[in-house]
């Protein structure tokens, strides 16, 4: 599938008009801001590679659960469950987030990505890392897990360095940029901890080596990376998609700083086995998330676009689950390790918050990326479809209702130890994901319409 949209587009279009100006503005913008998205957006090929990997891993992880539904009620610290969790988190969630970040972060912050060359190396490290790590967890070959982890962390270092250098260019460091910065830091720490735990000699170097570092690693990954990004990016994308504005930058900052202070406390406390500190950290996180939700509610209340599309609705449901999640987490911390409430908590975090938020945002990001690759060069020359015309709304409705209904049944089944109910819930969730995947495939089919780059004329030979 030739994905050369940006290079083709640059060859086909003229340079920006020198008459493009922001003259007469009361709110004057610097010229590079008026140059707008095309100057800042990297090639669509890199984000698309990550998103396609994400979709493949989502399909695999969902199928795996449907084939082995008893996993959801079993103790989670088993090789198979750990393998599934890493397929879902690294293969689906992190791949999607990284792909989206390469595209959205520069455009949303109004600066150019620091290095496309560095970004071009990342996909291969990430893909091979995931492909190695997940099966090796399955068979519990820790030396190979370490190798897979080393590849993943190498890719993550490239990613973090690239985005950190990009963030340094932004004119104003706001709460969104701060959330991104924190998420990058937690990403590297999570992976470093994971790598450390996979090497027995290194694990002994951890303070309190017999502590629950696996739980600390999980909280750092889910909370530090994904919840941080969900909250931070909401402050930028929600206003954009709903035709609203950020209502209170102070609230956004309080939410960001509180969330990360609480995360740091929870991470250290869980690892060192300080139960009360972990609860205190959880309480701080709860307050921070309440502030964040207050701001998101205010953004939505001030929106000019009254009707919300299915992707945004899915995302907002995920956001709404954040507070219940922290409540369940605080209670689950008081239960025994094998308690069903801990499985309930883990599934709510993975499928409910992370899964729904990412699938919801994919409803917006994937159509936009495909449209940008295929149709933006043709705008004004031929008729181009809108984003709505490229997707099936009935399938989006199926995704919304089936995923929510499935999650509800699944959690009821897990909470009360009812395997049949949990299995029905999983199948319903699977129907919702399948409907989204069909929509995604039909979207990606549009990429076949990208014309090849114009051929150079053959060299002329002159015979004397």
């Amino acid at each position: 599938m030739p994905i050369t949209a940006r290079k083709y587009r640059m060859a086909a279009t003229s340079p920006p008009s020198p008459n493009l100006s922001s003259s007469g503005c009361k709110h004057r913008l610097p010229l590079e801001r008026t140059a707008l998205a095309r100057d800042f957006a990297p090639s669509c090929a890199i984000p698309l590679r990550f998103l396609i990997l994400g979709l493949l891993c989502l399909a695999t992880a969902t199928g795996w659960l449907l084939i082995h539904p008893t996993m959801v009620l079993a103790p989670y610290q088993t090789p198979h469950t750990v393998a599934w969790a890493h397929l879902y988190i690294l293969g689906f969630a992190l791949s999607t987030v990284m792909g989206a970040a390469y595209q959205i972060v520069p455009v949303a912050l109004g600066v150019q990505l620091h290095s496309e060359r560095l970004a071009a190396f990342h996909p291969i490290l990430h893909i091979v890392g995931v492909a190695l790590l997940v099966p090796m967890f399955f068979v519990w070959s820790l030396p190979m897990v370490t190798l897979g982890g080393a590849l993943l962390i190498s890719g993550a270092l490239l990613f973090s360095y690239n985005l950190a250098r990009t963030l340094r260019r932004i004119p104003r460091f706001d709460a969104v940029a701060a959330s991104l910065t924190f998420a990058l830091g937690w990403l590297l720490l999570t992976m470093a901890l994971g790598l450390t735990m996979s090497v027995p000699a290194l694990r002994m170097l951890l303070p309190h080596p017999s502590g629950d570092w696996l739980a600390a690693h999980a909280h750092l990954g889910i909370g530090g990376i994904f919840i941080n990004l969900i909250v931070g990016i909401s402050f930028r994308l929600l206003p954009l998609f709903t035709l609203s504005t950020l209502q209170s930058p102070t609230r956004a900052w309080l939410a960001c700083l509180g969330l990360n202070a609480g995360l740091a406390m929870v991470f250290v406390a869980i690892g060192l086995g300080h139960f009360r500190c972990a609860l205190a950290g959880g309480a701080i996180i709860t307050v921070a998330l309440a502030i964040a939700l207050g701001e998101m509610f205010a953004i939505c209340a001030a929106r000019q676009r009254r009707r919300l599309d299915w992707g945004l609705r899915l995302f907002l449901v995920a956001v709404g689950l954040l507070l219940p999640l922290t409540g369940v987490g605080l209670v689950a911390a008081l239960t025994d390790p094998g308690s069903p409430l801990r499985n309930f908590y883990a599934l709510l975090a993975l499928l409910g918050v992370v899964g729904l938020a990412i699938v919801g945002m994919l409803h917006k990001i994937l159509p936009f990326l495909v449209w940008y690759s295929v149709y933006s060069p043709q705008i004004g020359k031929t008729q181009v479809p809108s984003l709505a015309a490229m997707v099936s709304e009935p399938r989006q409705k199926i995704t919304f209702f089936a995923c929510l209904g499935g999650l509800g049944l699944l959690e009821i089944g897990v909470a009360f130890g009812l395997q049949p109910v949990a299995t029905v819930g999983l199948w319903l969730w699977g129907v919702g994901i399948a409907a989204w995947l069909v929509n995604a495939i039909s979207l990606l089919n549009h990429l076949r319409k990208i014309p090849p780059p114009p051929q150079k004329p053959p060299a002329e030979f002159h015979f004397s």
């Binding site: 920006p16 801001r33 984003l387």
Partner: protein, 96 residues
């Protein structure tokens, strides 16, 4: 005539044309050169330059016109009240 032509340019996110969205502030024609003053729904609009390119392409494809100058302005900022009344209802009923 140019406004009618620019109605072919659709914001892909909202599914509405740039004229009815109220993005086109002014059109001036001098000889074969057209100056279009426009705005965007927000400074962070990810397809801003795509829409500007679209305006240029549509204008220069019009018979008798050879050059298009686009002035991007932010004052006054765009607001939904700029949307034409007949289009306002469509905005609230479309799902994307």
């Amino acid at each position: 005539m140019l406004r009618a032509r620019l109605r072919q340019l659709i914001d892909p996110e909202l599914g509405l044309n740039v004229v009815d969205l109220g993005l086109i502030r002014k059109i001036e024609v001098v000889g074969s050169t057209v100056t279009v003053t426009m705005t965007l729904t927000s400074p962070g609009c990810p397809i801003g330059e795509v829409l500007i390119d679209g305006v240029r392409n549509l204008v220069t494809a019009t018979p008798g016109l050879t050059d298009a100058i686009v002035h991007l302005v932010w004052d006054p900022p765009w607001s939904p009240s700029d949307i034409s009344p007949t289009t306002q209802e469509t905005l609230n009923s479309t799902f994307l």
